[in-house]
């Protein structure tokens, strides 16, 4: 039986030790292989045997690491669904798994419908006949739950925004179709109005997507790495931040001797804060592993706090570390402002580290800490603040639909005057379908009603 490739996060949402993304279909091994960097480069995924477990990283198109994962391969027909199945074990919490899933979805894999893995398992004969009714119950229950969640997500103010998007898109579609089906009553398409609608749509969609991302940050949190040379005050900063936050979520002891993690809460944003070991050239093998680990932590972080010691000045060690921060979101924290003899002038720092946010502080004396929290909040929510009238959370399906709608609307806007109307109409259907998925409606059916409502038809 030939089906398309599907993927979904298969572990329940919430904090857990690991989260699993499951994929099924004839193309999934190849698709995962494309974004999997095996720890042992000699062992690419398609070459691995069935039921093998593979260590490595999921990387994005720029080869940036998303998460360190264990990937298991189960080939057809000996798998849960009877098709080729890949399971990606990500780090716990939902963020890592979601990011990996998004990466897979960008490679042409479809998000699984509720209960779809089980459905396939049954259809391929992996589950016996007596389980048919159980499978039906699973599909029913999961669909209802998904529907309920989607609807409750979109209640109140938000539903008005979605409604507004639907409405504009239906209007646009009705304009195109009326011009095509009733040319003598309606005349040519009003390209100016169509352009305006598309522009407005793009703006509203942008706003919604930003609001969704902001909601995602509040729900999923961000990773912040503290880095700097030894004795710059990293542990003190970590402790200070923890002290400020009374509601510590969990307390995970350092997984290696070099990285200490803690979950804290800054201005309502869950932050996983990681204290790294110093990074310097070393011959010591144990220390070398620590350094590599630290670099990886910095790479994985959404934001880095780069600490400089005002007492010692800027050293070669600081510059070595800076190489890893150049293209990152980072805050430079000039610590030990309380010292009498300072060897760093903030003006010099501004010159050397152009474009970075710089804060002068004394962690010991609790100075500059509010400013640091401000800076963290601002940088994490950067560009997502103008949508503060919206408080919205999207599930993966909705997010994907929104992104699809936005890209279609953008394409439509670019091609508006150069593509003939019949093709344009087909592209508008695509956007309509995507937006319909957000609230689970078939909007196309409303278009014909709209033609008769908005246009005087009937010659």
């Amino acid at each position: 039986m030939m089906y398309d490739d599907i993927a979904a996060v298969s572990t329940p949402p919430g904090e857990g030790g690991i989260a699993i993304v499951r994929l099924s279909g004839t193309g999934v091994i190849q698709a995962v292989a494309e974004c999997f960097l095996p720890f042992n480069p000699q062992l690419p995924l398609p070459a691995r045997a069935s039921f093998s477990l593979n260590l490595g990283w999921i990387v994005d198109r720029e080869k940036e690491k998303i998460d360190e994962v264990l990937v298991s391969v189960m080939r057809a027909p000996k798998s849960y669904t009877g098709e080729d199945v890949v399971e990606v074990n990500c780090h716990g919490g939902t963020l890592a798994a979601r990011k990996c899933l998004e990466e897979f979805l960008q490679r042409g894999i479809r998000l699984a419908e509720p209960g779809e893995f089980t459905k396939r398992a049954f259809l391929s004969g992996r589950l016996d006949l007596s389980q048919a009714e159980a499978v039906v119950d699973i599909i029913r229950a999961k669909n209802e739950k998904a529907m309920k969640m989607a609807v409750s997500n979109l209640e109140g103010k938000n539903s008005a925004v979605i409604k507004n998007i639907e409405d504009r898109l239906i209007r646009l579609n009705a304009m195109v179709e009326a011009s095509v089906d009733f040319p003598e009553d309606v005349g040519e398409l009003d390209y100016r109005e169509a352009g305006d609608i598309l522009l407005e749509l793009e703006e509203v969609l942008n706003k919604l997507i930003r609001a969704g991302e902001r909601g995602e940050i509040y729900r999923e949190g961000v990773n912040v790495a503290i880095c700097g040379k030894p004795n710059v005050g990293k542990s003190s900063l970590l402790n200070a931040l923890i002290r400020k936050d009374k509601a510590i979520v969990t307390d995970i002891p350092g997984t290696t001797r070099d990285v200490i993690e803690d979950y804290i809460n800054i201005r309502g944003i869950p932050v996983k804060i990681m204290d790294t070991a110093g990074i310097r050239g070393t011959e010591d093998l144990v220390e070398q592993i620590g350094v590599e680990k630290s670099i990886q932590v910095i790479e994985n972080a959404d934001l880095a706090i780069f600490m400089l010691d005002m007492g010692t000045g800027i050293s070669q060690e600081d510059m070595d570390l800076y190489i890893h921060l150049k293209n990152k979101k980072a805050i430079i924290l000039l610590n030990k402002e309380d010292l009498a003899h300072k060897h760093i002038k903030p003006e010099d720092v501004e010159k050397i580290f152009k474009g970075f946010k710089i804060i002068t502080a004394s962690v010991i004396e609790d100075r500059g800490m509010d400013e640091l929290e401000d800076a963290i909040e601002n940088m994490v929510l950067e560009g997502k603040l103008d949508s503060d009238d919206l408080d919205i959370m999207f599930n993966m399906r909705q997010k994907k639909a929104l992104l699809k709608a936005r890209s279609t609307v953008q394409e439509l806007r670019e091609s508006l005057e150069s593509v003939p109307l019949d093709c344009l109409g087909v592209d508008v259907w695509e956007a309509l379908e995507a937006v319909g998925e957000i609230s689970g409606k078939t909007l196309k059916e409303e278009v014909i009603d709209r033609i008769f409502r908005d246009f005087c038809i009937g010659k």
Partner: protein, 624 residues
């Protein structure tokens, strides 16, 4: 007294656009066929607008032609003007539309029917249907003649219990004051079909002598001769013009002042009318902000002075109609020859039909055309053709002929009829066809002629012409793909420069160069790179090259669509034994009895979870 009047394979009741196609198809496929009509003087009557074609409808007419039907050939013989509309909006929505010569259209069709081998015509009213054991056996006419038949196609249009309404005046009647069919409704109900009631209307006709055309805008036909049929000869006759005028504030005031006499508003008319064809009084009320509506004055034929007032269909009282018309520029002294009216009629809820158009309740009973709740001559003809074909296949004990939505507008039309609940007469629109970039009027023959040949409706002449065309097309396409040019080629560089097209960077084929919007295939012929294969093939090649990307995209969509279409469901599936369906879905599935999971997914009230549940249950049954 009943008497035994004979035995036929297929009987058709009604000789309108559906009935003519059904009867011709059945006879041409070799069945002994009889066609009953209330009046032999009125076969293929166009009781409303004098035109054929337009968006979605032109595609239908071309499809009928590609399958070996008659409508395209007939309108090519009997038109007074043909135009292409929607030029510049893309090939998928471009559509031919012909103004018909109504009398000539009827005359030509009658001649075709009379000459057809295996076909008998009879002027008679059928009043009863014999269907013991839920299987059609015979029909009985008003005069007591009993005709046995293997299959029956009912195409009664708006004649079933037809009722004419003009203001306060009401009487029983068919369109254009024909006799209505008074008894057949009861016969259909007795056979087990449920009937509903729809309404439609038509404008007044006027005398050309009383019209002042100097106050109107002339609308001539296209210069070149355009034809619907792939095999019609040129008719080459001069084209007649239509005329454009408009209603005025005064017109609208007259309507508003007389709403208390308008049956649409007084509650006299209960049947639902079509929104795409509203009465003039409806338009005035609903679009109160508009001071004026377009009106087209169209000749009804070459040999008549009667003209049709397109846009003014109305059931206002006769005296109001006269005043309304005379308030329109150019019609100040107009004389009405026929009064506009509304008509109510019985129709069969089409959800009772299979995709073959056979009623589920009665084996061998097919319905087609307006009786199925559609509107339009083209929609009727398309259904008639399919019903005719399937009546024959039924008699021959063969599988029904069903076109998919991805193959044809005919498929979209019938699939919508059966699966979607409509509360107004159904009209086909290009926006109803999700794969419309593939379903163009220009490629109807490429899509369907082979299928028409397989069922035995496409004759040798048509088929040979088609084969030739296909061969020429493929050869020309090969030529375009194989002929390549380097940037060094002088002639090509010159042409590109002349067309303001970018110079070549690499070696490109003519096919690839043709994709550029500014390039025209004609230029390649002029340059001598391609032998002229005729305008039809040039157009086809140009569309195929320029829209390749979009066409590919739609073809991929069709491949996905077909996965569920190919999952068949047994007709006698006991939906009460399907575990886990929602109540609404169960109800609907029991009613429509879809033949595939794809069809099930399009039934109103069946949601995606129900489809998954259905798939699981089907698998379970398969294994049991």
């Amino acid at each position: 007294m009943l008497y035994d009047a004979g035995k036929y394979d297929v009987a058709v009741i009604g000789a309108g656009h559906a009935g003519c196609e059904a009867a011709l198809a059945a006879a041409r496929m070799g069945c002994r066929t009889i066609l009953f009509t209330l009046s032999l003087d009125n076969v293929a009557l166009m009781p409303c607008n004098p035109s054929v074609g337009g968006p979605a409808k032109a595609q239908l007419v071309r499809e009928i032609d590609a399958l070996g039907g008659e409508m395209a050939l007939n309108i090519d013989k009997a038109n007074i003007q043909v135009r292409t509309i929607n030029t510049g909006k893309g090939p998928a929505v471009q559509a031919l539309r012909a103004q018909a010569d109504k009398r000539e259209y009827q005359h030509e069709m009658l001649q075709t029917l009379l000459k057809q081998k295996n076909l008998d015509l009879l002027m008679a009213e059928v009043e009863e249907i014999e269907a013991p054991d839920r299987k059609v056996q015979a029909v009985i006419t008003k005069t007591g003649a009993r005709y046995e038949c293997g299959a029956l196609v009912v195409t009664t249009g708006t004649y079933l219990k037809g009722r004419i309404i003009i203001g306060e005046v009401m009487y029983d009647g068919g369109p254009g004051n024909q006799f209505p069919a008074t008894k057949l409704s009861a016969a259909l109900e007795k056979a087990g079909l449920r009937l509903g009631r729809f309404k439609t209307g038509t404008p007044p006709r006027i005398d050309q002598k009383s019209v002042d055309f100097s106050k109107m805008i002339e609308q001539p036909g296209d210069e070149k001769t355009l034809r619907f049929s792939h095999i019609s000869p040129e008719n080459g006759r001069p084209q007649l013009s239509c005329w454009l005028t408009h209603s005025t504030r005064e017109t609208h005031q007259i309507v508003m002042d007389n709403l208390d006499r308008a049956p649409m508003f007084t509650g006299v008319i209960k049947g639902r009318g079509p929104r795409y064809c509203p009465s003039f009084e409806d338009k005035v009320v609903r679009y109160a902000h508009k001071d004026s509506h377009q009106l087209f004055i169209e000749p009804e034929g070459r040999e008549t002075d009667e003209m049709y007032v397109q846009g003014l269909n109305t059931s206002l009282p006769e005296d109001v109609q006269i005043r309304v018309l005379r308030s329109i520029p150019g019609l100040e002294n107009v004389h009405i020859t026929r009064t506009g009216y509304a008509i109510e009629y019985d129709y069969v809820f089409p959800s009772q039909l299979k995709l073959s158009l056979e009623a589920r309740a009665v084996e061998g009973l097919f319905t087609a055309g307006q009786i199925n709740g559609t509107s339009g001559y083209e929609e009727a003809a398309a259904q008639g053709l399919i019903a005719g074909i399937n009546a024959v296949l039924k008699v021959q004990g063969k599988e029904p002929f069903i076109l998919k939505r991805s193959q044809s507008y005919i498929g979209v039309l019938i699939d919508d009829l059966v699966n979607k609940e409509a509360d107004e007469p159904y009209r086909l629109l290009t926006s109803r066809a999700e794969y419309r970039l593939l379903l163009r009027q220009d490629n109807a023959d490429l899509r369907l002629t082979e299928l028409g040949r397989d069922v035995g409706l496409v004759d040798d002449y048509r088929y040979n012409r088609f084969q030739e065309k296909k061969k020429t097309l493929e050869e020309a396409r090969e030529k375009l793909k194989k002929t390549t040019f380097t940037p060094a080629d002088q002639t090509m560089s010159g042409l590109l420069e002349q067309k303001k097209s970018a110079a070549l960077k690499d070696r490109l084929s003519l096919w690839e160069i043709l994709r550029r919007p500014e390039m025209k295939i004609r230029d390649f012929v002029v340059a001598g790179w391609l032998e002229d294969p005729g305008p039809e093939i040039l157009e086809q090649l140009e569309i195929q090259a320029k829209y390749e990307g979009y066409i590919k995209k739609q073809e991929d969509q069709v491949a996905r669509f077909n996965k569920l279409e190919d999952k068949k469901i047994r007709e006698d599936l006991d939906y009460d034994q399907v575990y886990g369906l929602s109540n609404e879905a169960r109800q609907k599935l029991k009613e429509v009895r879809p033949v595939s999971v794809g069809q099930a997914s399009r039934i109103s009230g069946v949601n995606p979870a129900d489809i998954n549940v259905l798939l699981i249950n089907l698998e379970k049954m398969r294994r049991n």
